[in-house]
């Protein structure tokens, strides 16, 4: 009996192997934080993906076969993120998995992706520890920590900052941003001090830490303060710093490019500068910018359907589907996960909301420094600043 069962299982397994994936629909697993602190942010991304998939299917999908999105909520929980990922890998029709969003969750899903051989597209600058692993199946579609830091170094050079104090959050992303900023900054002759004081994403008051840093700011004659953080701590740091009477310029990360950040920080956010993704200021891009029209068209679509325009996350949603569609087109005839991965890795010059995507076996961060712009917060709005030598 046991013998029979195992034979049957073997036959079933052979039959269900990726080579025989049904050719009816291309399923894309989406493993995002639909509940929890990022619920509102990921909703935008979900809307954008739905919109893009509908548009592609209306045009006949891929050789008449539609794309299909399968949403699973990971609830900002490591266990659930891993369970969703495993579930997707077991469904042979799922060709790739998108998400999660949070740093530590994606480290896990990437490991599962590597083991189960399925493409995992993630939306967050990769952290260097994971990058060193050279994972074959993980692709990053966001601006990586390296280019964000390089862009900020360019900004600091233009502003002639000689000495910058970095106040990092105690999360892997912020730590690697701080370290890359230090490395690239010191190559260009900027003195970068990374503070020993950190803050947690859940801290509601940074005043004590900043009080401790204030004498250092004055003693070392620091030119600028780099609030190396993401989410609500950004505006909290700016508010607390201004309340303490510190007047030096504040630099931010690309994670400052959300409307709610300005709403929270109010007046304290005025004059904060950072390198941002193009969708943040898509209407202020140069006329000859290759992706301006894509953003404007997509913004119109989003407004018609959901009543709100695009932001960074909507851009990532658009780009994810665009990349998957493009890679599927190029893996024509072969519908295996491996063929899809190879096609995605060979993506060259794909124009989408955030910029031009180029992947190669050595580079799984699709965007380059050219795909970011400098932004300054002025009058409660994001305003693009042009620095000709670094555009």
């Amino acid at each position: 009996m046991v013998f029979l069962t195992s034979i049957l299982t073997l036959i079933l397994m052979a039959w269900a192997s990726p080579a025989y994936v049904a050719e009816k629909t291309y399923k894309i697993g989406v493993n995002l934080e639909f509940t929890g602190p990022w619920a509102e942010v990921t909703k935008t991304m979900r809307n954008a993906m739905v919109l893009e998939v509908e548009r592609i299917n209306k045009m006949g999908g891929l050789d008449g076969n539609p794309l299909e999105l399968i949403f699973e909520d990971n609830g900002f929980d490591l266990g659930r993120a891993a369970a969703n990922m495993t579930k997707f890998t077991k469904d042979k029709e799922v060709i790739a998995v998108v998400g999660p969003f949070e740093d530590n969750l994606q480290a896990t899903t990437r490991a599962i992706a590597e083991r189960e051989k399925i493409t995992n597209i993630i939306i967050c600058p990769s952290n260097p520890m994971v990058r060193a692993l050279k994972q074959k199946w993980a692709f990053n579609i966001a601006q990586s920590d390296i280019i964000v830091s390089q862009k900020l170094v360019d900004l600091s050079l233009t502003r002639k900052y000689k000495k910058v104090l970095v106040f990092p959050a105690a999360i892997p992303l912020a730590k690697s941003l701080a370290e890359y900023y230090k490395r690239f900054g010191e190559e260009k002759g900027i003195e970068v001090i990374i503070s020993n004081e950190t803050h947690k994403p859940t801290d509601i008051d940074m005043t004590p830490q900043l009080i401790k840093l204030k004498p250092l700011l004055e003693k070392e004659k620091v030119d600028a303060f780099y609030a190396c953080t993401a989410g609500p701590p950004g505006p909290i740091v700016c508010k607390n710093l201004r309340t303490l009477g510190v007047k030096i310029p504040i630099l931010g990360t690309h994670a400052f490019g959300f409307g709610f950040i300005i709403a929270l920080g109010g007046e304290a956010m005025e004059g904060v500068e950072f390198g941002a993704a193009k969708p943040v200021v898509f209407d202020q891009l140069d006329e000859n910018d290759p992706v301006k029209s894509i953003n404007i068209d997509f913004d119109k679509l989003m407004k018609e359907r959901f009543g709100v325009g695009i932001d960074q996350l909507a851009g990532y949603g658009h780009d994810t589907i665009g990349l998957i569609y493009d890679a599927l087109k190029r893996s024509q005839g072969k519908f295996t996960r491996a063929a899809f991965r190879d096609a995605l890795e060979n993506t060259k010059g794909l124009k989408s909301c955030h910029g031009i995507y180029n992947y190669s076996p050595n580079d799984h961060d699709g965007l380059s420094k050219k795909d970011m712009v400098f932004v300054r917060i002025e009058g409660g709005k994001f305003k693009r600043i042009k620095i000709p030598e670094f555009e």
Partner: protein
Amino acid sequence: MDSWLYYFPQLLSSGITIGAIYALVGLGFVTISRASQIINFAQGEFVMLGGVITFFLLNGVKLPYPFAALIAILIVILIGFMMHVLVIYPLRKASILILMMATLGASIFLSSTNGLIFGTLPKTLPPFSGEHPFRIGEIPILPQNLWVLLSTFILLIFLYLLSHRTLLGKAMEASSTDPLGADLLGISRNLMVFLAFGVSAGVGAIAGILITPLFFTNYSSGTLLGLKGFIAAVLGGWGKNSGAILGGFVLGIVESLSLVFIPSGYKDAVAFVILLLILSFRPKGILGSPYMDSRRW
């Protein structure tokens, strides 16, 4: 350590503000426990609801600020009453432990529903008067900090008068300390607990409105505040209004000053270390708790 003296007054002023907030949350815990011995774990959620509902009334319904705040307080009091009617009253015959678990459930329900209705992004309110700090010596102070302190003071006096100078307050306390005696005297214990939930929800909502301009409020921020407020109430002496106030300030100031000596990453741990120390060496709290027999310690 030459800059030790330099930090000190500034850290103290920042600790006093956050201490006032812990004190307000702690007061809410004490109010309910004085009437019923229940520890209401949804106290932090009342704080969060106060801030978020005011935000909605101000920006969604476009009411004037004072009006929005007042209506928000009334709504939260109503939620407090409903919580008693729907959660506590049906379980009135169950043990205190089960009631506490029920409040924990109510807290999860309140924060998740809030996230669904009003969204999960943090929210802020404009400060009551002016955004610019003024200075006392070297220390910058926001006008809002003074509002927090003033309101804590007024609420303390109000709760003191309520519990020590009115028949209602005494009836509330009696129904907790001696349920049988209260029954014999014709005090409706259920009514007393009902009213206590209203008062504590109101105190929570006021705290929420006061702190939202300083610290942002989102659907989940009630949990940590509730926990810190609870620690404050235990620290000062469980069951005493003055204990909650003192505990709140002590906790806030120690947390803030601890930064002089330890890295900021351990800031949250300080509260719990203090709680452990208090529980092992002086379980009745700084001022002593009426619920704990002091002769045993």
